[in-house]
């Protein structure tokens, strides 16, 4: 899908330029924008290094584990199919907290472990109710601090690169809540059909 979108943006652009007489601009755009993208990626290093460094401290100091404790009662209620002391709950909690801190790389392995545990519980190759709930929460993103976006805003001389943190958290919360509600609606619909 992304391959098609990507290729067609360039193809349509070039074809359009043939008829629109903007080939000159397209020529310039190719090299200028490639240059810009490289400058940007290098500029991202500063924030990413600093933030992941701080996060590593948070992880080792047990802040992530502490948060997991706070969220435990909520998570247990969100996944009624999973027994309370099942290891799947633990993996789900670490996945959610790692996601909240923008530790995508740490979150993914935890998420896969959680899925393995849930598959053992359901014992089929069909997505179980808990798996779908888990994915719904994951796809709605739980990021508290959008590090990369802040870095990009800095690169383009924003007056206040972090002013979007509040709006992002609000939008994320609404997104996650509605993911949970939509997931529930679909679940009840599917049980009624059976």
């Amino acid at each position: 899908m992304v391959n098609l979108i990507w290729a067609f943006m360039a193809i349509i652009g070039i074809v359009y330029a043939m008829f629109n007489g903007t080939m000159d601009e397209v020529n310039k755009a190719v090299f200028e924008s490639a240059n810009e993208a490289v400058t940007l990626s290098i500029g991202l290093i500063s924030v990413l290094v600093f933030w992941l460094g701080i996060m590593k401290i948070a992880e080792e100091a047990g802040i992530l584990r502490g948060l997991a404790k706070i969220f435990r009662p909520i998570v247990v209620r969100l996944f009624p199919e999973i027994p309370k002391d099942h290891p799947a709950i633990g993996y789900i909690l670490s996945n959610i907290t790692a996601n909240m801190f923008g530790l995508g790389n740490a979150a993914t392995p935890m998420g896969i472990k959680a899925m393995e545990q849930m598959k053992q519980l359901s014992g089929s190759d069909e997505a179980s109710r808990s798996m779908i709930t888990f994915l719904a929460i994951n796809t709605s993103s739980l990021t508290l601090i959008p590090t990369t976006v802040i870095a990009i805003r800095m690169q383009y001389d924003s007056m206040s690169p972090t002013e979007i943190v509040g709006t992002t958290i609000l939008a994320t919360m609404i997104g996650t809540l509605s993911a949970i509600i939509i997931d529930r609606l679909f679940y009840y619909q599917s049980t009624r059909r059976k």
Binding site: N20, F50, I57, A58, M115, T139, S140, R153, I164
Partner: protein
Amino acid sequence: MVFITQVSLWIIPLFIMIVLLVGTWKKVPSYELFVEGGKEGVKIAFSLLPFLVGMIVAISIFRSSGALDALIGLISPLLLFFGVPPEIVPLALIKPISGSAALGVTTELIATHGPDSFIGRLASTMQGSTDTTLYILTVYFGAVGIRKMGYALKVGLLADLVAIIAAIVIVTLVFG
């Protein structure tokens, strides 16, 4: 609404302070851990580079040829009716499909309209507020060999739609 912008300014410095305080109190080697975690950041930045180059070049071909303006002109009456700024449409379409591609689109929007413009703020908020549904479904279901996804895709995409609408409404209210 001033409150939300204030929280945005305070949250990061406060968070850093708390992490360092707890770390020192728990006697973890903070500086060494910081360096170790930071190395990961270098790796991520370099692995993003080809994604950004590919997407940004394709978008700027599309834009500089005039094709983007033509497309926006075609569909903008419909979008304006729903209150969606037409410039944001490519981002909303690509966000559920590819995270790094969406990052490229966000970057383009911020570069073209400025980070402190309405479009720049909206793109920033949208970039952070949903995750890549298709990528997550592929990775997680693929890793444990789930063949029948059930209603997972529908739930993910509908939630993305709600989050995008929420981002537009919130950014309009806070910065509008």
